[in-house]
Symmetry: C2
Subunit: 284 residues, 2 copies
């Protein structure tokens, strides 16, 4: 693809750096895909900086981190680029893809669907792991040897599973209120049944609590969870991942925060800690 | 009105404090009015804290500061409460009130309209100056002797004019990309013609550049302006206020920032400076 495939939707000076919104044709998703990039001041001065990828939760898109994440001040200070993607393809439509807020549009679960019709374009894993970094590293001054990944809720599931499935691609990982055992909770069972089919053996490859039994990461995983999160007991269940990490010898720092809910007010509160976690590992 | 007039729409733990969204019947606006309050950790520990009121710009509402302002971390650190209001009445409707984005709904200009039909409910000055502080000071642990006010664009106009018209009510004032001479620019002329009528003599009482000629504030006024702001030349023209302040002896710190636009990325970048400006004056 040529340089002109990158569409600049808007760019804004921001904390001495630049917040941009872009679109690029996606082979993986068979449609244009939107993404956002924050470049810290160091990148505008010509340095190549580490890139931290953010995966948003159900109903969200590439605008949530830059508009609601309150990440810019600390990313600017640390010299971290922030990249955010969308949560599903948008252009190719299928019957029922907008019938529920937790499946289909804005609910791609960061995997490559194997079941029709979804398999034709719901290939978010290939999009996030391969395609998006190739665009970002071609068009922006970011390092290809210093990628981190984090996310919220469904995006926390995405960050954990993609880091465990591609340990060569990411050096640091963290999550906020992640879905850690999708095979065992309603959101995950619904999504996996449609995207991956009825054979639960295939689900294990996209379930962080299963994956960590066979793959451990070199760096500590940071997870924050609000204890007033209305999805905690039914959908999130961080104790499942905590037990699996302990059994497998994976270093995990799981922090439980009284009073915090599932919102971006929770995310923003602990954002700086996540950026510092990644920067320390990535050498920002 | 009784305590039960306050409707709690939602509350969220946030940076050790609490971000809330509320609604209250408004006599001034003849309708329920929404507002938001951030209480810093000090307030939750029982201290009464200074309150900084934020006035948003055209098309915005009480959610813009908490969702896009990136103010929480510094407000928590400084022990400042943040209060944001809506930009117009919403419930009472008039012909043409949603025909344009720069007049009517979400464009109340923070004044009490004198012309029918607007005068029946577009009384944002009374709402902001009297009614809202009375609710906030009754229901939340904030000080009534330490109010500051700031705003963006139309809200910057509101902050400057309300501080100059009610110097007993506010001890500190600042603005981001404010409309400083509404009598002379298209946004202001349109709004004032409808809300105040054709007699331009009445307009002077709601024009910061005119007001500062006869009233000066004890504290320095901080104004930030992006030089890539697409409204700079046609609607904002900060040099008019700069000249009027210089002539009148009003202390003004006007900062011009190359490359910054009119967006919340500009606002967020300079938010911490504004909070520190107010905290220093209010004794936070």
């Amino acid at each position: 693809m040529s340089e002109s495939d990158l569409v600049v939707r808007s760019e804004h000076a921001c904390f001495g750096g630049r917040q941009g919104f872009y679109e690029h044709p996606s082979a993986a998703c068979a449609s244009p895909m939107r993404f956002s990039v924050y470049l810290p001041p160091a990148a505008l001065r010509g340095e190549r900086v580490p890139a931290l990828y953010y995966l948003a939760g159900l109903t969200c898109n590439e605008e949530h981190l830059p508009t609601k994440g309150q990440a810019h001040a600390v990313a600017a200070e640390l010299g971290l680029a922030l990249v955010a993607c969308d949560t599903s393809p948008r252009a190719t439509r299928y019957p029922g893809d907008d019938a529920a807020w937790d499946f289909g549009i804005a609910a791609g679960f960061y995997l490559d669907a194997t079941q029709p019709p979804w398999s034709a374009s719901y290939r978010m894993e290939t999009h996030v792991v391969s395609e998006l970094p190739s665009w970002v590293e071609r068009h922006f001054p970011v390092r290809s040897d210093a990628r981190g990944i984090f996310g919220h809720s469904m995006g926390g599931h995405g960050a954990l599973t993609l880091a465990l499935r591609h340990p060569d691609r990411y050096r640091s990982v963290s999550a906020l209120a992640p879905i850690v055992a999708p095979s065992e909770v309603p959101w995950g069972v619904k999504a996996f049944t449609h995207y991956l089919g009825a054979d639960r053996a295939t689900w294990r490859e996209h379930d962080a609590t299963e994956l960590v039994k066979s793959t451990q990461l070199a760096s500590e995983i940071l997870v924050d969870q609000g204890m007033a999160d209305k999805f905690l007991e039914r959908e999130l269940q961080p104790e499942r991942f905590e037990a699996a990490c302990a059994a497998a010898g994976q270093r995990l720092r799981l922090r439980r925060h009284d009073g915090y809910d599932h919102s971006y007010y929770f995310i923003a509160t602990f954002m700086a800690d996540h950026l510092r976690h990644h920067a320390a590992i990535l050498g920002a």
